[in-house]
Symmetry: C2
C-alpha cells in the first residue's frame, strides 16, 4: 500500500523502490546509485538565479516553491538517482530561537549561547510551526519527483549543530564547544538532548511528508576527542536512529560522521545506520573490508578531483567503483560539491557511474 | 664514545641514555617519559616576558640565547623528561625566501606561492646560513640541559609546510593546496621534493648540533584525500627518515601525522619512524593493539582536558597511562598546549605521570 506517509514509494523490498533505497537495504544492483552532497547549489547557474530571486539564503530555505525548484534542478540536468531536500543544518537552531543569518562568503552567523544555562531559553515548542515550510517543500518534491528518484531528508547531527550554536557560526578550532565538552559535559548534554529530540521530530515530519531516507550530517565529528566521541557523537546518532525506527522500522538512515578515521566502524556498529558516508581521507580497501560487510557505503570522491575533471577524475571514479561497486554502495563525493565545480564535470561523472556495471 | 655529533648523549642502548631515547628504541621503563607539545609557550608568564623582550616571535626564534632560554623554562619549572627546541615549522619557508611574519592572534602570514612555477624562485642555497642561529640554539641547549633530559629537534612535514606556503598562512579548508594536489600534482611534487631535501638538511644540522631525537609535525596530514596520502604524506616522511638514517642509523624519529585516523598504521609501516604521536581523537585500545606492537606511541591527552584540570584530567591521564603505559610509550598531549592552560595543571600532570608505575 502506498501512502503519503510511507517511508518509501513502493512496498518494502520490491523492485519498484528507488535504486538508492534498495541499496541502503543491502542489495547490490547492477550499478550503484549516484547523488552528490550539496548537488543543489552555487555551482549551477540556474541555482544562482533562484537564489537571487529569493533574496537571502534563509528565505530560499523557507520558501517551499523555490526550495523545491532548486532541489529538482540537478535531477533534471544530470539525472541523479536521488534528490536531497534543499535546506540547512542550522534551521533547527533558527527554529529554536537562535536566529541564523547566512552572509555570502562568510557563512552562517548566529548569536552564540553564553553557557549551558542559555539552553533553557531555547524554544522547542515552536519547532514544527517554524519548520512547516520545509515539510511543505518535501510534499511538493514527493509530487514532482519521478518514482525512481529517491528523496532524501536530512538534519545536522547534534554535536555539529551544537558547535555552531556555541561558537556563533563556523569556527576554525571549535575551542569553545570542545571546552564545554570537557568542563561542562552535563551542560553540553542538555543541549545535545534537546537537539536529539528536535532532530527526531524534524526528521519524522520529513518522512511523513514523503522523504524515503534521511541522512545525519556530523561534519565536525572528527574534532571530538576519543574520550567524548561515544557520548557526543555515537549516542546521539544512535538515539536519533532509534527514535526514527520506532515509527518507521524500515526507514534507511545514512550517517556521515566526517573525518572520524578508524572510528567509522564504531559509528556503524553503535548507531544502527543503514548507510555510512565516508570522507575522501578514508582508504577504499579499508572501507570495503571493514565497513561494507556491515552496511551500505557511500562516498567518497574528493570534491577537488571533480573540480579538476579529466583523466584524474575518471581514474579516481573507476577506482572507487571497482573497489566498492561490488557490494552495497552509493556513489557520492566525500564532502559537499564546491562552487567552483564545472557543471560539465558533474554530467560526465554521472554518466560514468550510471554506465558502470558490477 | 660521547661526541657533540652523536645522536644521543650516551652509548647506544645503555642506561645512561635519557629515558625518552630508551623508550623510542623500544624499551618499556618503570614509567613513561613525559613532555608536552608547545611546552615552551604563551601559557607561561616567564615565556611571555622573554617573548616581549625579543620584540617579535620570529626574532625570538632567531636569537639563540632567548630561544634556548624559553626552551629551558618548562624544564626548570616542571622537570619534563625532554626539551623540544623552540623554533617554528615555518623557519624553512622563511629561509627559502618566503618571508614569514607572525601576528599576535592572527598566526603566520607569508606571501603565497602563485603557482608551481614560483617554486623555482625559492632559495635552498641560503638554508644553512639563514638557519645558523637555530643550530646555535641547539648547541646552547646541549650544554645547558641535564644529561637525563632528552633534546628533541623538529621540522614541519613537507605537506603541512607546503599548505602554508601555498595558502599564505593558516587556512580553514586548505582549498588551494588541495587543488594543487589534484590539478598539478607534479608541480606540488617539486615543492614537496624541495621541502624533503631542506628538511633533511635542517634536521641533520640539528642532530649534529646536539639533538637526541627529532619529530616531524604533519599537522594537516588529516586533510589529504586517500588518493594523495601516500604521495604527499607517507613518501616524504619515509624519505626524510631514510635521509636522516643514512647519517645517523640509530636516530629516533617521531612522526605526528595529525588527524589521519585509521591511516596512522600505514604511516608507521611505511615511514619507519621509531615513535608515532597520536592526536586526541585516536582510541586508546586501538592504539595499544594496532600501533604499539610496531612502534613507541606518544600522546594523547586532549589539551582542553588539561585546561579544565581536576578530576577529569586525573581520570583521563590515568586511563591513558593504564592503557598504553605497559609498552613503549611517551606521555604527551594530543596537540599543542593552549595559551589558556593554568601552569599548575601542568605541574600536577607531570607529577601524576612521573609517579605512575607500570
Amino acid at each position: 500500500m502506498q501512502t503519503e506517509s510511507s517511508p518509501s514509494r513502493g512496498s518494502a523490498g520490491t523492485k519498484s523502490e528507488p535504486l538508492l533505497i534498495r541499496v541502503l537495504k543491502g542489495e547490490t544492483g547492477p550499478r550503484p546509485p549516484v547523488w552528490l552532497m550539496r548537488q543543489a547549489g552555487r555551482y549551477l547557474p540556474e541555482y544562482r538565479q533562484v537564489r537571487a530571486r529569493a533574496g537571502s539564503f534563509m528565505r530560499l530555505c523557507y520558501t517551499p516553491e523555490l526550495a523545491a525548484e532548486v532541489t529538482l534542478q540537478p535531477i533534471r540536468r544530470f539525472g541523479f538517482d536521488a534528490a536531497i531536500l534543499f535546506a540547512d543544518i542550522l534551521l533547527i537552531p533558527d527554529a529554536l530561537g537562535q536566529t541564523v543569518e547566512v552572509r555570502e562568503g562568510q557563512g552562517p552567523v548566529l548569536p552564540p549561547l553564553a553557557d549551558a544555562g542559555a539552553v533553557a531559553g531555547l524554544r522547542p515548542d515552536r519547532l514544527h510551526e517554524h519548520l512547516a515550510p520545509v515539510y511543505e517543500t518535501v510534499r511538493i518534491l514527493r509530487r514532482e519527483l519521478p518514482a525512481e528518484v529517491a528523496l532524501i531528508g536530512f538534519a545536522g547531527a547534534p554535536w555539529t549543530v551544537a558547535t555552531y550554536m556555541i561558537e556563533g557560526g563556523t569556527s576554525a578550532d571549535h575551542a569553545t564547544a570542545l571546552r564545554w565538552a570537557v568542563e561542562d559535559p552535563d551542560g553540553l548534554q542538555r543541549l545535545i538532548d534537546l537537539l536529539v529530540a528536535s532532530s527526531i521530530e524534524y526528521l519524522l515530519a520529513q518522512v511523513r511528508a514523503g522523504a524515503d531516507a534521511v541522512q545525519i550530517f556530523d561534519t565536525w565529528a572528527g574534532r571530538l576527542p576519543a574520550s567524548a566521541f561515544a557520548r557526543f557523537c555515537l549516542a546521539p546518532a544512535a538515539a536519533i536512529v532509534a527514535g526514527l525506527r520506532a515509527e518507521y522500522p524500515d526507514l534507511p538512515v545514512i550517517g556521515f560522521p566526517r573525518g572520524v578515521g578508524e572510528r567509522y566502524r564504531d559509528y556503524v556498529v553503535e548507531t544502527g545506520v543503514a548507510g555510512i558516508s565516508i570522507d575522501p581521507t578514508v582508504d577504499l580497501d579499508w572501507a570495503r573490508d571493514g565497513l561494507q560487510p556491515l552496511v551500505a557505503v557511500q562516498g567518497n570522491l574528493d570534491p577537488q578531483v571533480l573540480v579538476a575533471g579529466g583523466d584524474g577524475m575518471r581514474a579516481a571514479t573507476c577506482r572507487i567503483l571497482d573497489t566498492l561497486g561490488h557490494g552495497p554502495f552509493v556513489f557520492n563525493l566525500g564532502h559537499g560539491i564546491v562552487p567552483q565545480t564545472p557543471p560539465d564535470h558533474v554530467g560526465e561523472l554521472v554518466r560514468l557511474v550510471q554506465g558502470w556495471r558490477a
